[in-house]
């Protein structure tokens, strides 16, 4: 079996920053696994600006931000970037199994960094009643359909939740000719950044309802509308405040969950409420030499913060390898 010094899972803003930092701290054998056919992770579909101000002191789009790291990775021969490589199995002694087109590989990592990011919460996790027609998407999925695949998922949109991706998609749908009829937020303030409320919602006169929730989704084959009601301070529906909005599409932007099933499989302790690894220190887990960085460790507001903390994971990995190297 092949043994590698450091294996990193995920080549997004976390994994790429971790790989570069590990190299800069002395690691000379790095395998970077990415399931997509391009490196960059979710940055590739985030075509809007708002990246890099912290990290590069420049305003960049997601793909531009990714490109900075991709260039660096490609210039370091000690980092092997393996694309279309999907990890399906991880054991406590850091044995990874992954699929590549046409084959299955197993590799033993002396040290492992998981930069697997996070995924979006679904309708089932926020308890919206009604039917189950087509036309219900998570905001990030709609973003991929529009920005990568060139498909417009609907024409009359209601967005549930005011997370950043939802706000960004309100603008994106509007620019592409769809009508965003409302953004519905159950809390009394936005979950996203204020600047996104300004430039994505206010700029386009899109109604934004705070203290409101979607009660029901209507439609048999396709969404035909939603019912909305005001909630009180205990988030309970206030009777008599309900109204209906006709739409063909519902987008959900109601939060993100760290994606940590692989390390859970390996026996790492996970907080079942947040899906974050249980840890006293950033990037560390209950298994020595197994680090988690970026949104898989905790959900960050900015990709810049992901990259910064992931650099620390690269340093920790280098220190760990030096330590076990001496011991062995």
């Amino acid at each position: 079996m092949i043994e590698r010094e450091l294996v990193i899972v995920g080549a997004g803003p976390g994994g790429m920053a971790a790989a570069i930092s590990a190299y800069e701290n002395g690691v000379r054998d790095i395998l970077l696994l990415e399931r997509d056919q391009y490196p960059g992770g979710i940055l590739n579909q985030c075509i809007h600006t708002g990246f890099g101000l912290d990290y590069f002191k420049e305003i960049l789009t997601g793909p531009e931000y990714a490109e900075r790291f991709i260039k660096k990775i490609k210039a370091i021969p000690e980092i092997e970037l393996s694309l279309r490589s999907f990890v399906t199995l991880l054991t406590g002694d850091k044995l990874l199994t992954y699929f590549k087109p046409g084959r299955i590989e197993t590799v033993k990592a002396r040290c492992l960094i998981m930069a697997t990011g996070c995924r979006e919460k679904t309708r089932e996790m926020v308890h919206i009643g009604g039917t189950r027609p087509s036309g219900i998407f998570s905001a990030g999925l709609a973003q991929k359909l529009i920005n990568i695949d060139g498909l417009l998922p609907g024409e009359e949109i209601v967005i549930v939740g005011s997370g950043d991706i939802g706000l960004i998609m309100a603008r994106r749908f509007t620019l592409e000719g769809a009508k965003v009829k409302a953004v519905i937020e159950i809390q009394d303030k936005t979950r996203g950044l204020l600047r996104n409320v300004v430039q994505c919602v206010t700029d386009f006169d899109i109604p934004l309802y705070f203290n409101h929730k979607i009660v029901k989704i209507f439609g048999k084959d396709r969404v035909t509308g939603v019912s909305v009601a005001r909630v009180d301070s205990d988030m309970r529906e206030v009777t008599g405040t309900g109204f209906k909005i006709d739409c063909d599409t519902v987008l959900l932007s109601v939060g993100l969950i760290p994606e940590n099933e692989l390390i859970e499989m390996a026996g790492v302790r996970i907080d079942k409420k947040t899906n974050c690894p249980v840890s006293d220190e950033t990037n560390k887990t209950s298994v020595p030499g197994l680090f988690v960085c970026g949104n898989a460790f905790m959900v960050y507001d900015l990709a810049d913060s992901v990259s910064k903390d992931s650099e620390a994971a690269g340093r920790l990995a280098a220190e760990y390898l030096k330590k076990i190297g001496r011991a062995g």
Binding site: Q37, N44, T49, L53, T61, P63, E67, D149, G150, L175
Partner: protein, 122 residues
Amino acid sequence: MKKKLICIECPKGCSLDVDIENCRVVKVTGAQCPKGEKYAISEIEDPKRILTATILTKGFPLKLLPVRTDQPIPKARIADAMKAIRKLRVTKRVKTGEVIARDFLGIPGVSVLATRDLEMLK
């Protein structure tokens, strides 16, 4: 006249109080950095945004090339800009930062830039 704005120059989102006289900004308070004042003046006197969008490619595995304007364009021209963007096609390999269209919308000096490398997969 007084107006409240939220600065969009960085993720902090400073709350700005703007004093306006005859459509001109005379005083800005609440900004944590100099960008806030600049933003408030532009937002009141000549609001602008950077536009990001995608354009169709021909003959590449990547269907869409993400693009941006290299500088903010007038907010009032965003709809026109999207119409113009929809007509653009890219048929050649491009690198991030390469100019796709010059003097965009007839505004001298405004370019549309590729924000991603467009190449054939190896």
